[in-house]
Symmetry: C2
Subunit: 391 residues, 2 copies
């Protein structure tokens, strides 16, 4: 691991907030805007590591909650950390576990200290705190660590949103202090059973504040004061209207430090991502390309198609005639439909590969347009083609 974390801004669009850059991590560099496929349990569903490499993924996301419960962060650490465990030598971002824990509903109990919750696997009781989340993420050895935050439930009153963001702010401070301490105190690591660390771990803060723009601003100011390697927008894509989401993104993104990566968590469709890039976002993650693939839904330049549809029975064309992915280079819609109606695992593999490759290719095309000064044109063409639909 030769590099520490850094972000270089390479180009900025003159007609929007869109930016092209490059992030370096202890496990290699990747271009931004970037899409991070979600590898919840240390594996991106239906995609092998070599398939992800072939599609051009430079960073994937791992879920702290899932990996903590199974196989356990110390098991992973003993096996060399998450990169070594999963044999993925490119970059990894881990979430804090907060989002999953809050999704447990009645199975969790919130306090100033943290969250007590019951495992969805076996009902066993656990406590996740900012400190514990940092310890788990230190053991996993990811390149980008996320602070432990409360993902404010939606809808929230102004008071609820305020209380929540204040808690997130205190937790962000505790997260940063503890991760710093861990990295400077080998004895503490040893006492926790952590044998191997990634000394170049970066830490990202998470902006909350629900749909209240002044609270979003206040949250951001607090984070900037603490100082993080990157800044994320959390608490969106949780049930609100698209217009409400973009109101927050368009307001907050340009206020985030320009010399740090900006990450919109859990978003979204290809068109959402293009919109958010135009607003100045650099990083994205979403389960949509892989989850929808398993259900037969494929993303194309001309919108989505459901491959199980009978209209594709004799269709010799690839999923997307302009796509250069390994699946579009080799297989017809007719064959993919057959695999889907036959319930073959290979169908899920090929569909997932195409969807992730489509997302990654969309990011590359955006980046290129930003660098060429043609992002506005790309943006318009992209949305127009999507609206045209399939032939």
């Amino acid at each position: 691991m030769s590099e520490t974390f850094s972000f270089t801004l390479e180009a900025a669009d003159s007609q929007s907030q869109a930016r092209a850059g490059r992030i370096s991590t202890p496990h290699g560099s990747f271009d931004t805007p970037v899409f991070m496929p979600v590898g919840t349990q240390g594996s991106v569903k239906a995609l092998t590591q070599s398939s992800l490499e072939e599609a051009g993924a430079g960073i994937i996301l791992g879920n702290t909650y899932h990996l903590y419960l199974r196989p356990g962060h110390l098991t992973i650490n003993q096996l060399g950390g998450l990169h070594s465990f999963a044999s993925w030598e490119r970059a990894i971002l881990t979430d804090s576990g907060g989002y999953q824990v809050f999704s447990l509903g009645d199975l969790r109990k919130l306090s100033e200290e943290g969250v007590e919750f019951q495992s969805h696997l076996d009902g066993s009781r656990h406590v996740l705190t900012p400190e514990r989340s940092m310890e788990i993420q230190a053991a996993l050895g990811s390149d980008i660590v996320m602070v432990f935050d409360e993902c404010t439930p939606y809808p929230a009153t102004r008071d609820e949103a305020l209380r929540s963001l204040e808690l997130t702010e205190r937790w962000a401070r505790r997260s940063k202090a503890h991760l710093t301490k861990l990295h400077s105190d080998p004895n503490q690591l040893a006492s926790l059973g952590i044998r191997i660390v990634n000394p170049g771990q970066a830490l990202f803060g998470i902006n909350q504040g629900s749909m209240f723009l002044d609270l979003r601003e206040r949250s951001l100011e607090g984070l900037i004061e603490m100082g993080f390697d990157g800044y994320a927008i959390g608490g969106l894509s949780v049930g609100e209207d698209k217009s409400a989401m973009f109101e927050v993104v368009s307001h907050i993104a340009p206020r985030m430090p320009g010399d740090r990566p900006r990450y919109l968590m859990g978003v979204g469709t290809p068109e959402d991502i293009v919109e958010a890039v135009a607003m100045g976002i650099d990083m994205f993650d979403c389960v949509m390309p892989t989850r929808n693939a398993r259900n037969g839904q494929l993303f194309t330049r001309r919108g989505r198609l459901n491959i199980t549809n009978a209209r594709y029975k004799d269709d010799a064309r690839p999923i997307d005639e302009q796509c250069e992915c390994a699946v579009c280079a080799r297989y017809s819609r007719a064959y993919l439909r057959h695999l889907s109606t036959s319930g073959e695992i290979v169908g899920a593999i090929l569909r997932s590969h195409h969807n992730v490759a489509f997302y990654l290719d969309t990011m590359r095309r955006m980046r290129q347009a930003i660098q060429l000064g043609t992002f506005n044109e790309f943006h318009n063409t992209f949305l127009r083609d999507l609206a045209r639909g399939q032939d």
Copy 2:
């Protein structure tokens, strides 16, 4: 498609009946002894075509029954035949559909003409005859076509076995006559809706006779009189003891024409295959490597292991330390166990890849030993290592 079908014998073991050879087809050549992964529905379960190529598969098997019912042989023919449909440019063998139809039990009715059966998918009624099976396989365009036979039920009395093999003999004659006619009569093909054919299709006869050696001999004589491009042993691995199976194989294999490939259908474990190679068999197919992989069972030089076992939780070693497959080169038992206990699709992909690669590698090692004159040593070492079990 430049070549027609041929078999070249390259080496014969002096201490056993084992042989090394090479089969050429219109879709490339491959070495024997050969293992053919089973691609029931035009896809080897959990393995993409590029994964099969990487593992070194030179030929796969397709199931006529399944492909006839879904997506339909004419749909596949319209899309260029099975090679083009599945984007698999190496060789394909198709079975006759007989075995699957007989497995339907109460859903089928046997007559001299053929078999009337109900689809396991929707209950629709169909008739499969020798002529129909040849038409379907001609439409699929496989490189090796199997005659339509009755897989004699086990156990069978001598009279039952005799009646069954006589029927199989008449059906073999009808199969050969009809495939020959199809390949010489473009008008008939056109009237059947078959647009594209593989003019180099080879036809294999199938030996029956249950466990009665004299009936097996009689069946073989009938087939040889008719003349086929290769000869298969059917009706084994259907519930009989291993000793009964090998009694038939060891008796019949050396009596099969030495200048044609010998194919033992549906067999078996790695040790079964090594035994059968020693008895002079050249070709094998079996769902075991892929089916067992999906259930967590992995084949190694030291016997089988079930990767879900807790003993592998911290095991940083590959599945098989001597294996050179892409999975053993990259992943630990601990990671594979995690994927298995987490129910990740990638686990099924990696397990299937290893098992098929292990089978293919076993074939390569046998072939090399036959060529070097060390097959007897290989045979003993292979069985001894299997018996040692895991560390």
